[in-house]
């Protein structure tokens, strides 16, 4: 099983996770810029974080033959802090980078006017930089948040086929399917979505425009739940080709719209520097 995890926060994960992911068949990932738990209070903190998403993390991933890409944005939660608003001015520099395959995560957390403004401005950046957009839906008031999200997406003029609306569930999936946007599902140990529930959604709504991710981060989460979902699909009678479509070809198709997805020589660990300090764990 080859796996492309289209949404995972590797910054918060250990190198052991990379090793386990590679062993499980994960060959490519997208790491969206998001909240780090501890609120940031100035744009410099974001610049260092963004630099790590296009520098250190791709390097760490490459040690295990995993191709790392990023999405860059000011996340909805921190868009509410006026001290972080100047981050919007930093974005153009990062949206030009090779490893950046979308604008994201953008969208709503608490649906404030500040979030409205940052969301619209960043959808405009996605259009300007010819990038897809990764849109987070709120954890609270999710159904109305998703409706409002889709209205803002429609108003922005970005093609729905270049937008993924993420963290969906049984209640919100239909709305997004009807909009023409891609549907993202974050498989979590307890909350958001589980492998068996995901299988039911795929049975009901089909495989088209479906993205399954682990969204593993600093919370209680598991980077191998993409694999578990693939296994659950097989157990439920889906074919290996169906699994490959959901876990590999769909994310390749979605993020491939950036023109920047680099999946050449996938799976080859950089032989020249094999045995670097990371793999060996240092001295």
């Amino acid at each position: 099983m080859r796996i492309f995890d289209p949404h995972i926060h590797m910054t918060s994960r250990t190198t052991d996770d990379y090793e386990a992911m590679a062993a499980a068949g994960v060959r490519a990932i997208v790491e969206p810029a998001f909240w780090l738990g501890q609120p940031r209070t100035n744009p410099g903190s974001f610049a260092d974080y963004f630099d790590s998403l296009i520098g250190w993390e791709p390097y760490r991933a490459s040690q295990f033959g995993i191709r790392h890409h990023a999405t860059i944005a000011l996340n909805p939660k921190e868009a509410n802090d006026p001290r972080c608003r100047p981050v919007l001015d930093l974005l153009p520099r990062y949206l030009a980078k090779d490893g950046v395959v979308a604008v994201g995560e953008i969208g709503y957390d608490s649906m404030t006017p500040e979030e409205d403004e940052a969301f619209a401005a960043q959808l405009a950046l996605a259009v300007e930089y010819e990038l897809p957009a990764l849109v987070h839906t709120p954890h609270r008031d999710k159904a109305r948040g998703t409706e409002r999200t889709l209205a803002v997406v429609a108003e922005s003029g970005i093609e729905p086929g270049r937008v993924v609306v993420d963290h969906l569930n049984e209640v919100t999936v239909g709305l997004v399917r009807d909009s023409g946007c891609w549907m993202g599902f974050s498989i979590y140990p307890d909350t958001k979505m589980s492998p068996p529930r995901m299988v039911e959604i795929l049975k009901e709504h089909g495989l088209e425009r479906m993205l399954v991710n682990s969204a593993a981060d600093w919370g209680r989460s598991d980077p191998l739940l993409t694999l578990r979902t693939g296994e659950a699909m097989l157990a439920a009678g889906f074919s290996p080709d169906d699994v490959d479509r959901v876990l590999w070809r769909n994310p390749v198709e979605f993020y491939g719209q950036s023109g920047r997805l680099d999946l050449s020589d996938i799976g080859e660990v950089e032989a020249t520097f094999e045995g670097s300090s990371i793999k060996r764990g240092g001295s």
Binding site: D51, I54, G55, W56, P58, Y59, R93, A96, K97, D98, G99, G259, R260, T272, F273, E274, G275, S276, S277, I278, R280, S283
Partner: protein, 206 residues
């Protein structure tokens, strides 16, 4: 390696649209130096990333980026190199490091080498030890060579290794070898060979 060598190497490998993009980008950078940021970032997508057979150790994107830097008005190169490195992704940073010896900047970019040597990205550490490393002082250069051995970077990336290696580096290397052996671990053959050469040279002197 000179900018002209890179130009020739690129011409042999690039398609017509790639050459056209680079030609226009170089002209624009000479005219509008402030536009280099966006062009530098997109150079790999526009020109490719293949290895350049006639410029060993260089890739197409690195050569294109080096030429972009070299096309800037001379008085703006140092500042631009600093900014492009600071805000570059890992490939851009590596391209800046490799371009340094080709640029009219004297020893001004040594802080970039220090930054690269502090990282744990072996590709950046290796790129900091090319010909421009002649501007590194000896203590920093020794630390960088030792770090290569520690991280498993092959020592053939180090410019002027045998000319610059000295007794103090031999002492440091011998210490690392002793630690590794005490832990039942190996040391790269190229490091042991260097240590042997240094010991032989010391023996001749004595």
């Amino acid at each position: 390696m000179e900018p002209d060598d890179l130009r020739v190497a690129l011409a042999a490998l690039s398609t017509a649209p790639e050459q056209e993009w680079l030609r226009e980008a170089l002209a624009r950078v000479a005219r509008e130096p402030d536009d280099i940021g966006g062009l530098f970032a997109t150079a790999a997508r526009r020109c490719g990333r293949a290895a350049l057979p006639s410029a060993p150790g260089w890739t197409v994107d690195e050569a294109a980026r080096a030429l972009l830097l070299a096309a800037l008005p001379a008085d703006q190169v140092a500042t631009a190199a600093d900014t492009l490195y600071r805000y570059g992704d890992a490939a851009e940073k590596r391209a800046v490091l490799k371009a340094l010896p080709l640029l009219p900047i004297g020893a001004g970019a040594v802080p970039l080498l220090h930054d690269a040597i502090r990282t744990n990205d072996t590709r950046l550490v290796a790129a900091a030890l090319g010909t421009y490393a002649r501007h590194l002082d000896q203590p920093m250069w020794r630390q960088a060579v030792l770090k290569c051995v520690f991280m498993g970077v092959p020592l053939n990336v180090v410019h002027d290794l045998d000319t610059r290696a000295d007794g103090e580096l031999a002492t440091m290397l011998a210490g690392l070898v002793e630690e590794r052996r005490a832990a039942g671990r190996d040391v790269a053959a190229d490091a042991l060979a260097l240590l042997d050469r240094l010991a032989a040279a010391e023996g001749k002197k004595a």
